[in-house]
C-alpha cells in the first residue's frame, strides 16, 4: 500500500524490512549518521571468499532511511566486494522506484554504510 509521498516499494520495505538485526562476528561493520536529521544506520556484513554472503542492518530514521537500508541489504547479498562497493545511492533509490527529492539524502546513508562496512572489512583483512 502506498502512503503519502512514498512509492509502494518504499512502503513495502518500510513496513516489512528485510534483514533487520546483527551478525555476530561480522566481517565488516559500517555505521553512518546523518547530521541533517540525526538519523543513524548500522550495517553488518558476512563476507566469504570475496563475496557478501549475508547482510543485516539496524536503522534509526525515517521511512526512506529504513526502506533504503532494507533494499540495500537485499541488493548486496551475493555480490562481490567490488560490486558491493560500486553501489550508489542512486541504485538504491531506483530499486525503490524512486524517493521524494527531499529524501534522496536518506539513500546516501545506505551508500555510505556499505562503503564504511567494506572499509572495516579491508582493515580487518589487511594482513
Amino acid at each position: 500500500m502506498a502512503a503519502g509521498p512514498y512509492s509502494e516499494k518504499v512502503m513495502d520495505h518500510f513496513m516489512n524490512p528485510r534483514n533487520v538485526g546483527e551478525i555476530d562476528g561480522a566481517d565488516g561493520v559500517g555505521e553512518v549518521g546523518n547530521p541533517a536529521c540525526g538519523d543513524m544506520m548500522r550495517l553488518y556484513l558476512k563476507i566469504d571468499g570475496g563475496t557478501v554472503v549475508d547482510a543485516k542492518f539496524r536503522t534509526f530514521g525515517c521511512g526512506a532511511a529504513i526502506a533504503s537500508s532494507s533494499m540495500l541489504t537485499e541488493m548486496i547479498k551475493g555480490k562481490t566486494v567490488e560490486e558491493a562497493r560500486a553501489i550508489s545511492n542512486q541504485h538504491v533509490a531506483d530499486a525503490l522506484d524512486g524517493l521524494p527529492a527531499v529524501k534522496i539524502h536518506c539513500s546516501v546513508m545506505a551508500e555510505q554504510a556499505v562503503k564504511s562496512a567494506l572499509d572495516d572489512y579491508d582493515k580487518k583483512h589487511a594482513v
Binding site: G4, C37, G38, M41
Partner: protein, 402 residues
Amino acid sequence: MTKAFFDHISTTPLDPRVFEAMRPYFLDRYGNPSSHIHDQGQAALRAVDQARSEVASLIGAKAGEIVFSSGATESNNLAVLGAAEGAGAGKRHVVVSDVEHFSVMNALIPLRNAGYEVTILPVDRNGVVDPDAVRKALRADTALLSVMHANAEIGTIEPIGPIGRIAKEAGVTFHVDATASAGHLPLDVREIPADLVTLSAHNFYGPKGAGALYIREGTKVAPRSFGGFQEMGYRAGTENVPAVVGMGAAAILAKSEMGAWAEHLSRLGKTLWDGLAAIPMLHYTGHPAERLPGHVSFWVEHVEGESLLLFLNMKGVMAASGSACSSNLRGHDEEDLVASPVLRAIGVPTDICTGSITFSLGKGNTADEVRLALDAMPGIVERLRAMSPTYLDYQKQQGKGG
C-alpha cells in the same frame, strides 16, 4: 477500519452547519460586494458585513476592526509588515518570540533587509515567554511586539494578558497570532490589550482560505496589497464571499460552543496523555497545564518521528510531526528537514527535533479513537526500537552498567 484524525491543528473539518451557510453564496448569491448598486451585489455586501460582525463578536471587537484575508499567513504578514511600516520612520525595531509561526518569522526577512533591528525573545523549556523579558526588550523605537496566543506544535498558551499590558504601557503595537487558539480559547480584545489579532477560519471548523486580522481602531497599519478599496483599503481584491460567510458562521458556532468543545477535548486529551505515559522514555513537550485543550505533544527516545507517523497511519491514526507546514515532504530542498525551530527553542536536542509528535484532537473525536491510538502506540514503538542501533546500544549499556 476505524480511522482517527488527530491533526486538527493543521486543519479542522468543516462543520456541516457552516457548509449550509456557505452554499447559497456559491450558487444563488454570487454578487460582488463591491458592485452593490443591484440586488445581487447588495446581497453579497450584506453577507460580508454580517460575517464581519460575527467574526468581531468572537473576540469582542467592533465590526469595523475586522479585515478579511486569505488566511493566517496573509494576516500575519499584514500585521508584521504593515505595523512595522505604519509605525513611522523613527521606529525601526521589532520584537517577536522564538516560537512564532513561519508566517511571522519569515516576514522579518524583508524588515531586516530594510534595516530594521529584530529582537527574538527566548522561551523557557515549556515554551513560555517571560513577560519580564518582554519588558526589557521594548525600546522607545520599537514598532511592534508579536507573541502568539498558543503554539500549534507544543500546545503552550502564552501569557498574552500580562505581555499585552507591558506593551501598552510602553506604547508599542502588540500583535497576537491566535491561529491555533481562536475559536477554542476565550480571547477578548476588551480585556487583552492586543492591537492586532490573527484569526484563521479553518482552524475552528470553518473553510480554508479564509482568515481575518483584527486591527484595533487607531492602530497604524500600512496596506500590503494594492488595488481597489476593499477591506477598508488594507487588502485589495474581491472578497471570497462564500469563505467569508463561512468564517462568520464558524465564529458564531465557536462562540456558543467552545466551552463544550473544550470540555470534551480536555477529557479525551487527558485519556490520551495519561495512556501514553505507559510508554517508557516518552517525553511530553510544551506546558503541562497551560496548553490547548485536546493537544498532546511528545517525543519518544530511540524512535524517529516520521516512521512512527507512517506506522500510525497504517493503523488508521493520523497525527503530525513538528509544525504542520514543515512536515511535508513535497519541498525540494533539504532545508525542509531542519529540526523544528520551536523544539530547538525549548531546548530539545537537535537530533530529536525531527522526531516530535503532535496529536491534536477535534470536537468530532471519540474515546474509541483515542483507544485506537493508545492500542497502536506500544507495538509501533517496540518495533521501531527493535530496529534502532541507538536502542541496541542503550540496552547494552543498561546491561553492563546494571
